[in-house]
Subunit: 289 residues, 2 copies
Amino acid sequence: MAVLTPCLALVLCVVVSFLVLRSRRQSKVVDPRGKTQADFKPWVDQDLQDDSQVPTGEDEEGKWADSNVEDDVPHVPYSPQRHPEDKMLQRSHHFYALMNQRRSVRFISPEPVPREVINNVVRTAGTAPSGAHTEPWTFVVVSDVDTKHRIRLIVEEEEEMNYRQRMGDKWVKDLAKLRTNWIKEYLDVAPYLILIFKQTYGVLPVKKTHYYNEISVSIACGILLAALQNVGLVTVTSTPLNCGPQLRLLLKRPPNEKLLMLLPVGYAAKDATVPDLTRKPLEDIMVHI
Amino acid sequence: MAVLTPCLALVLCVVVSFLVLRSRRQSKVVDPRGKTQADFKPWVDQDLQDDSQVPTGEDEEGKWADSNVEDDVPHVPYSPQRHPEDKMLQRSHHFYALMNQRRSVRFISPEPVPREVINNVVRTAGTAPSGAHTEPWTFVVVSDVDTKHRIRLIVEEEEEMNYRQRMGDKWVKDLAKLRTNWIKEYLDVAPYLILIFKQTYGVLPVKKTHYYNEISVSIACGILLAALQNVGLVTVTSTPLNCGPQLRLLLKRPPNEKLLMLLPVGYAAKDATVPDLTRKPLEDIMVHI
């Protein structure tokens, strides 16, 4: 204590403040693979944390240019097809009935599915609207047996880690039940895996943030699900926890692309089952004013 | 300086560290309406910043229960309709052609649209998958003339502010062109406005975070867009900047609901135009491995 002069004390204050600030700043930067015990939150997809929705100052000008992309394009007349009211009502009933038969299915048949059907389904997803018409999506369609298996190994390894970390003491008690949660046989079995990447920024001609890219790509995924249901194929919408960076490297996607969803696609297995769930009735999801 | 004893210096260190920590923590909490000049980023929807994807420690147990909701439900056989390959191909072509005619339309006819068609479109959106089957969406369908006009006033006021803030000096030069960007006549004219809220957490029976609620609700929005296109109605997908809190209060939605999208819905106006944009070809959005 005797060596602490007032000046030294002031210097100490500054150093402590600096260190505190620095440690707080560092805790914001998450290296997807460099997990420490303290930072590790296995149930958060760390790739999703790079919140590309929030622009930094440097992108401000780019955003402005972006958001007016449509202003610079000439307009053309648009006359979509119209149906008489009874036909509209009938079409709306029919489409609802079709979509309401859709379920998330984890039991997928290995039977082959025509490539051109998958191409058309992806084309359909690509008709989704997107912020400033950036079309910020990449659909990686995997049918290669070896690549599917590597994907499975990555997803299962991370899933098992998630469950172990999350469960703690409960882990040992309920092993058999949990096992079904991280074994993803369908990743080998399904004829196609569709991995949907969001492009968080564009690189041509200059780097530009893609605003609302996650919302845009999720909308495209909704249309993809409708297209799959329309042709009688099944899938399960999964957001593989923490696997994004590894899968991105495996599939050789550039750093501006982040994995948003992984869909195994095929016919339902003959003995497929689904949980006996119901959907909320209209009055629980809609308010009319 | 003479009064700075070593003990006082240490106390000072602690106080400074505390203040630094506190100020950094406070800067993370954004009051949607309490904008300061430094914090104000008009092009970021502040409602979207409450990143409900990232769970806090207190919700950990709830998440665990959530994510296994399907384990507690008995399974039932599932045999979706299958089509022969030529039929699948034909259906995939047809649905792609239908969806590819969809455009974002800002010129909407005031003609009435049957309520039951809107009900079926919302029912269809409600068939979307969601994290842990939480169905975290509320569709507020507004046909009331006065409420539509109040919505317009809120959206236009914020939009104008956004443009003014963003433009700075360029503002005066290009007023006429910009004006079209914040005047949203369709909010009065369209027979329906559908405001889609994401439920960031559930309140019954206990408060539980809804994981991936934004992705789930965006997927539902994609299916909604497909359903609208299927009946020959048009819309434009908008994410009204910063209007979420005001619109939530106007529509009397609870605090766990955040506005994600606003869709004006109706027939296309007779003189509707759209920007002459094209979509990326398949080879630019799909990679096959």
